[in-house]
């Protein structure tokens, strides 16, 4: 029992200790967390389900983290992004509906070219030196989900499962408008190579999963058969350690595998916040 009190006392002591004193014995790792909610329009086609275009609503949820790493003199940031898209689209005669849900997970390493790495626009807004940063680096990602057609029989849905390696580029630009510091940022991700699941042209899911017959169901994707682009343009209004973010997301995902053509073009307006964090790290 005495030992338990000692442990609790130590924990409380650590929590209540002077942060300045803590800085003397430990270092901070800069990090940020972004949470965004979006709404927009989507246009979809999947020739496995229907040759028609479908249009409708898309809802998005994005959660991202970013932190400065020790790589290349701390000029590299590590970014993770979890994006969930939910779509409900109908064909032109409004006789059928697609219900879709996809979760994308991406991790990127960005090298900062024009100054030290920053993890949040608010950090750039308060940072000295250049007002412009260019970031470039590799990204790996994966997507999982499905698209369901409400009236098809033996081809009612299309599974979405893919992995890719992308080129990711971004810029951050600090400027002032009516004395208010603002940060404009844009990030563009273009998959360069990957692989995705696809049924063969006329293959049923019954044949793939019940009978276990495989036929080129894992396809290599490149910009030639899957030209895909994700672009997020954002304006940040820094406010102390939290930042209001307004963003526009253009997400164009396409593929042509096994003669099945698929695309989802979406545009969404996002709103949310970015929180800058200083993560305490014990000194080695």
């Amino acid at each position: 029992m005495t030992r338990l009190f000692l442990i609790i006392g130590c924990v409380l002591g650590l929590l209540c200790c002077d942060p300045v004193a803590a800085q003397e014995t430990a270092s901070f790792r800069r990090a940020s967390r972004t949470t965004l909610f979006g709404v927009g329009g989507a246009r979809q086609q999947d020739t496995y389900l229907s040759p028609l275009n479908y249009r409708g609503l898309q809802l998005n949820f994005l959660f991202g983290t970013q932190r400065v790493t020790h790589l290349l003199d701390s000029c590299v940031t590590f970014q993770t992004l979890l994006q969930a898209d939910f779509t409900s689209t109908t064909n032109a005669p409004e006789k059928a509906t697609y219900l879709g849900g996809v979760v994308h997970f991406d991790a990127a390493w960005h090298y900062s070219f024009c100054g030290s790495a920053v993890v949040a626009p608010s950090a750039l807004a308060t940072a000295g030196g250049r007002s412009f940063r260019v970031l470039l680096g590799p990204q790996v990602g994966a997507s999982f989900g499905g698209l369901y057609n409400t009236r098809n029989g033996n081809n009612p849905a299309q599974a979405i499962a893919e992995m890719h390696i992308s080129a990711s580029a971004a810029f951050l630009w600090r400027f002032r408008l009516w004395k208010q510091p603002l940060v404009l940022s844009d990030q563009m991700d273009i998959p360069l190579i990957g692989m995705m699941f696809s049924p063969a042209y006329g293959q049923s899911y019954y044949e793939i999963f019940t009978l276990g017959n495989r036929d080129h169901n894992i396809c290599v994707t490149t910009p030639f058969n899957a030209p895909t682009l994700r672009n997020q343009l954002a304006v940040d209004l820094p406010f102390r350690r939290c930042t209001l973010r307004l963003a526009y997301l253009a997400d164009f995902r396409q593929s042509r595998t096994n003669e099945i053509r698929r695309h989802t073009y979406s545009h969404a307006f996002l709103i949310g916040w970015v929180r800058q964090l200083d993560i305490l790290r014990p000194r080695k």
């Binding site: 275009n53 032109a92 412009f132 029989g153 844009d186 006329g202 293959q203 682009l229």
Partner: protein, 341 residues
């Protein structure tokens, strides 16, 4: 360095705007006009239907000439009902029960696979044989006939049929001398349920057929046919003689069930040729929103023969009108005689 940054800053929006219209992956869209809808329907069948070569050889349907032939019947002022009639007629050339056109007011179809033949079935007679004290296990109705023959009616594979249902039925009938499985009027449903039932009639893994799928838009673009096997069920299996009754209304998944059990050592298929329907159907749609169903994945028997137009029974048997008038089902009586021998 500043100059480079400045140039980069100016170029960035240009680069961004130039990449925005990335090369699009799209399918050609047809207009929502009579011509556009006919062309869309013709193209769907041309690129996805799996029996075009076979139907050309078997019944002389040349799909390549259909578009021009039926386009002649289109007019700009035609009504939806008139357009539906033309499109449904074009589809009916394929003589396939899995090919349909669905609109709010009608279903385009060709049901000649059973409409052109004797029914060999009477609902009243079946009900008379079942009586009123029969049992029901999902889609199976069953009872023991007076001569200790089990009688099971399976009129659909659309209702969920589980291993437990089948085991209960076979356990109940296990003291019978034989089994009559009446599949007449069963026009199909889920292949999974058909397979579950077929697994009760074999004690060994059996090659029952092949399945393929289209790999491209060409009429002959097919995958290598993959063998299909029936594995013996781990539940109760029927170890006595069984007669499976068929008529022309046995279609689709039921046609596959007959393929699977025909050739099992203790099973005799009796009745009329089945209706066929060996292409697993997919759906698509037209610019005006009408839904289209078509055969997409061909299935074959163990000798790689097409079974699209049905399977011959082991014993051909028809419902005798004189028997019918006397309240006797010729097929059931013939099955009882066979099982009691």
């Amino acid at each position: 360095m500043n100059k480079i940054l400045h140039i980069f800053r100016l170029l960035l929006p240009v680069v961004w705007l130039s990449v925005m219209p990335v090369s699009c992956v799209k399918e050609a869209q047809f207009d929502n006009t009579p011509e556009g809808n006919l062309d869309a329907l013709w193209t769907i069948i041309d690129e996805h239907y799996c029996f075009l070569d076979y139907k050309k050889e078997a019944i002389g349907v040349d799909w390549n000439i259909m578009r021009a032939r039926y386009r002649q019947r289109l007019t700009k002022s035609m009504t939806n009902a008139q357009l539906f009639e033309v499109l449904a007629e074009m589809l009916s050339e394929l003589r396939d029960g899995h090919v349909n056109l669905y609109a709010a007011h009608d279903v385009g179809r060709n049901w000649s696979w059973y409409e052109d033949y004797p029914r060999n079935f009477s609902q009243e007679l079946q009900e008379a044989y079942l009586g009123t004290d029969y049992k029901i296990a999902s889609s199976l109705k069953y009872r023991i006939l007076p001569d200790n023959i089990g009688y099971v009616v399976c009129s659909s594979f659309q209702t969920a049929l589980g291993d437990g249902n089948i085991s209960e039925v076979l356990s109940y009938l296990s003291t019978c001398n034989g089994l009559i499985l009446d599949m007449r009027e069963n026009s199909g449903g889920s292949l999974t349920y058909a397979e579950l039932l077929a697994q009760r009639f074999t004690n060994e893994r059996r090659l029952v057929g092949y399945i393929a799928h289209k790999t491209g838009r060409g009429h002959s673009d097919f995958s290598e046919p993959e063998p299909e096997y029936i594995e013996p069920s781990l539940g109760v299996r029927w170890q006595k003689r069984a007669v499976v009754l068929t008529n022309r209304h046995c279609y689709s998944a039921t046609n596959t069930f007959i393929r699977d059990v025909k050739g099992c050592p203790l099973v005799t298929v009796m009745g009329d040729q089945t209706g066929g329907g060996s292409g697993m159907p997919f759906n698509s749609e037209l610019p005006n929103g009408w839904s289209v169903r078509f055969s997409a994945c061909p299935m074959y028997d163990a000798q790689m023969n097409h079974i699209e137009f049905g399977i011959q029974p082991d014993i051909q048997m028809a419902l005798n009108e004189a028997d019918r008038a006397r309240g006797i089902d010729t097929l059931i009586e013939a099955a009882r005689t066979l099982l009691n021998q």
